[in-house]
């Protein structure tokens, strides 16, 4: 059985742990280098990207996870997680993992009172599951992906901007699939992006 590690320093890691367990995965919180070195996939949750990045750095996990990503570790990142995974964070030199060839802008929709829910559109469908119904995006002080490199596929978009992208084993969303009942983003990550077998 594959083990999914959820970075659990700060943010809504609990929702990702619950969702992963509900989909039949073995899910563990990641708070130390030993666990980070062993898991078969990592989820970087929403939260405050500066805080999570700082804690990953303090506890020696930035380089470790960065190295494992270069070796092909599957990663699902949501909201703050996407910021931490981005190669470029516009106007910020905060600690990050990097690896995803995109440029993001933090809090790009505005402060909390501008947070919103909206249906997002399927842009590039390499998975039939997206056609089962619309995808509701919950955007909370969300970042915007401003630009992507050629090796990045835009899967979901909203108002002409990418809101979920894939680059090999990396899947990154600017919204929060863990806050709605729709399990498709996690299923797509586990079974298509990471290639884990479905529980029987």
């Amino acid at each position: 059985m594959k083990t999914v590690g959820v970075i659990s320093f700060q943010g809504d890691f609990e929702k990702h742990l619950e969702r992963s367990c509900a989909l039949g995965m073995r899910a563990v919180p990641v708070r130390d280098t030993e666990t980070a070195a062993q898991v078969d996939a990592i989820i970087i949750p929403g939260g405050e990207s500066t805080t999570i990045g700082m804690l990953l750095q303090r506890f020696g996990m930035l380089d470790l996870i960065g190295g494992r990503i270069r070796e092909g570790l599957p990663v699902l990142a949501t909201c703050a997680g996407t910021i931490l995974l981005a190669e470029e964070i516009i106007g910020s030199d905060q600690p990050r993992i990097g690896g995803l060839h995109v440029a993001v802008r933090r809090n790009a929709y505005g402060r909390q009172i501008e947070s919103f829910e909206a249906e997002v559109a399927v842009s590039n469908s390499d998975w039939a599951g997206w056609q089962d119904g619309s995808v509701l995006g919950v955007f909370i002080r969300a970042p915007i992906i401003d630009s992507v490199s050629d090796d990045v596929t835009v899967i979901l978009e909203f108002e002409g901007k990418p809101v979920m992208v894939r680059q090999g084993a990396l899947l990154a969303a600017t919204f929060h699939p863990e806050l709605t009942a729709d399990t498709r983003v996690h299923e797509y990550f586990f079974h298509t992006v990471a290639g884990f077998p479905r529980a029987t």
């Binding site: 700060q10 708070r31 405050e48 804690l55 909390q112 947070s115 619309s134």
Partner: protein, 301 residues
């Protein structure tokens, strides 16, 4: 609503309000009174700051009426950091809340630390776009505030004392009552709602799920990394630190240590390392010797 067009942005929904509270789990929210303190807090790893004119220990010492902070000071803090900025309004003072919403603060704390404006009613929080956090001493108070629209609850503790005993009392009270509800039969829940003075539907939900419908944080008296980890081990999902940081000898390392302690709250070896050489914590006031009239936590109902 049947005519909702989900292709358009639906702003300030209940899910986005509680969602922000979810994003603030596992971290530390620090009271700050200046932009410089806000920067120190952010650099230490605070996940949010609470902008206020005086920390609770000073409000206690100086007395007088404590009100919402000057908007200019809140805006300076908003400009100085990228993390969420919260601010306090007085209990029941919905115009202070309107002003804070107009300033674009990310969360409003309808707080007993300020002098209450209304002894009968709290703010109708459903009517606002910005989410609210409210204090509680027990489950009934928590559910009354959630019924009014609070998207986050914090146990009150006794602010400005540096004594964690009330924070522990209030959090244990909430978790014990939640556990008790779980053991009741359906026909007993209306009686429980009556005794708690809480909305019946929320009592039923808590009995079924075994937890509050919104995140539950801890506040009031946390002064050391060990205090913060204690509240986390007791079931708090994040910690507010008021006077404990900027009333201590050396705020920056203490701020960082409390952040690290919350991130590693179940790891005693790391907590030992984190707690070393931080200098004196705030001197504090023992709650046991305080008159009831000096307590801030008895404000609100």
């Amino acid at each position: 609503m049947s005519d909702t067009l989900w292709t358009e942005r639906q702003k300030s929904t209940w899910r986005t309000k509680v969602g922000l509270a979810e994003m603030l789990k596992g971290g530390v929210i620090m009271d700050v009174t200046t932009a410089e303190q806000a920067k120190i807090a952010a650099e230490a790893g605070a996940q949010a700051v609470m902008a206020l004119e005086r920390v609770p220990a000073d409000i206690r010492a100086q007395g007088g009426v404590a009100r919402m902070s000057d908007p200019e000071m809140i805006q300076k803090i908003q400009k100085s950091v990228s993390i969420p900025v919260m601010a306090k309004c007085r209990i029941g003072h919905f115009v202070e809340a309107q002003i804070l919403e107009a300033l674009g603060v990310d969360f409003i704390d309808e707080s007993e630390v300020l002098t209450p404006a209304d002894v009968n009613y709290h703010v109708d929080k459903h009517g606002f776009s910005v989410p609210f956090v409210c204090g509680c001493r027990d489950l009934g108070e928590a559910l009354r505030r959630i019924g009014e629209g609070a998207a986050m609850i914090r146990t009150k503790g006794e602010a400005g004392t540096g004594d964690v005993v009330e924070a522990v009392r209030h959090l244990r009270s909430v978790t014990d009552e939640i556990r008790r509800l779980g053991s009741l039969k359906p026909e007993q829940l209306m009686g429980a709602a009556k005794d708690l003075g809480a909305p019946y539907d929320l009592v039923v939900e808590v009995a079924r799920t075994g937890k509050l419908p919104v995140p539950n944080f801890s506040a009031g008296g946390v002064a050391t990394p060990a205090d913060a980890a204690l509240m986390m081990q007791l079931g708090a999902e994040a910690v507010f630190v008021g006077s404990g940081i900027f009333k201590s000898d050396d705020p920056a390392p203490r701020a960082r240590a409390i952040v690290d302690a919350v991130a590693n709250y179940e790891n005693p070896a790391k907590l030992a390392e984190i707690s070393r050489g931080l200098g004196q914590p705030m001197s504090g006031i023992a709650v046991a010797g305080m008159a009831e009239s000096e307590k801030l936590s008895v404000r609100g109902w």
